[in-house]
Amino acid sequence: MPAPKNITPKSGDVVLLVGTMKGAFIIRADGARTTWEVGGPYFPGKAIYAFAYDDRNGRTRLWAAVNSSFWGSYLSSSDDFGATWSEPEAYHIRFPEDADASVKQIWQITLGHEDEPDTLYCGVEPAALFKSTDAGATWALDKGLYDHPHRPQWQPGGGGLCLHTILPDPANSKRMHIAISTGGVYRTDDGGANWQARNIGVRAQFLPEGQQYPEFGQCVHKIVSHPSSSDRMFLQNHWGLYRSDDAGDSWSDIANGVPSDFGFAMEIDNKDPNMVFIVPLESDEFRCTPEARLRVYRTRNAGDSWEPLTNGLPQENAFETVLRDGLTGDKGDPMGLYFGTRSGKLFGSNNTGESWQTIEEGLPPIACVKTATIA
């Protein structure tokens, strides 16, 4: 196995947490975000679909979801930016013995509400939500969602039946949205005891004519919201781009001027709730960038129109795929934007997508990219 190279982030650095099909990488730059130092690989041979940085309550803790096709899926943490990682004897994320399920893969790690600094959430396959209230020491299944009467009718998408997105509402600690492929968007308003499907207006193109707007069962690929305006949400569907102005109660189509409304990745600007980024793919049959051009699309008016961002990105023979957690922003001003492809290329922009640089090539297929800003 390759010996990992360790990096030592400094105050003010931006760190990219890159999960790949064959291990994890930690990549740092100073606040200018132009020169990058690559650390890793960690967990060589394991797939890392979820990565997170928890700097609350004085921690500097990385969380990685380590998925082995042989040995199962577990959480590992590092308090020294990857120099050492926990290797728990017993896995933390596990269904109760009386459940009819076992964890196939951990898909998401999300920090809880600001006023709950020891709370973490995990989304897993088969679709379920786990919560920790002690900074990840112990975890419990959200029974409200697991016992939902819709659950037996959820169906696996191409990636499996996964709960892949978790959005705690910054303005309301009892409210949270989650997204499931294939189940759709669900919202709780009581801290996870009860969940309601929130998919009105979202098309399920894979269902027969006349049945394409069900209460649930949509293949939602990603949802985002903004801390300053959490009722405004955006949704990248398995065919379809949508906006909600009522916290998901209803959705309207905003695929105005994009080459395809199929795709996975979606990110929102850290200041402007009207600015959203996507990477359209041609179709579900051909999940590559349209016309072999690698273009990030940006809206600055909440989806009324979209513009391609191409400066520094390959515009010929670029048959690329960006997965649902492969696009992310940082906390900088202007926001830095980063994405990784299934061909192992990592791109970055330090000016909200106006221009791009290739940060790294030749990585294993990239499953997720997250950021941390070091205090």
Partner: protein
Amino acid sequence: MIIINITGFLTEFTGRRRQITLAGSPATVAEALSSLWQLHVGLRDRVVNEQGKVRQHVNIFVNSDNVRQQQALATPLKDGDEITILPAVSGG
């Protein structure tokens, strides 16, 4: 006495020991594994899932027989049997 052979990555959870000898007379593979988990806790979740089922890409042999073609974890044991835990072939 039952001998359990551990290979590769899993020896990280046995103090690098590649062979574990179980005293006593476990009647089945399940009973032997239950004793093994008590000796080396870290092996359990890597070999079986929360429901106690052997993970899809892990194989357990009794002597030269894969227990999937026998009685799975209910496969009976006799004194002197050797259990071997191996990752399955994945890919081509």
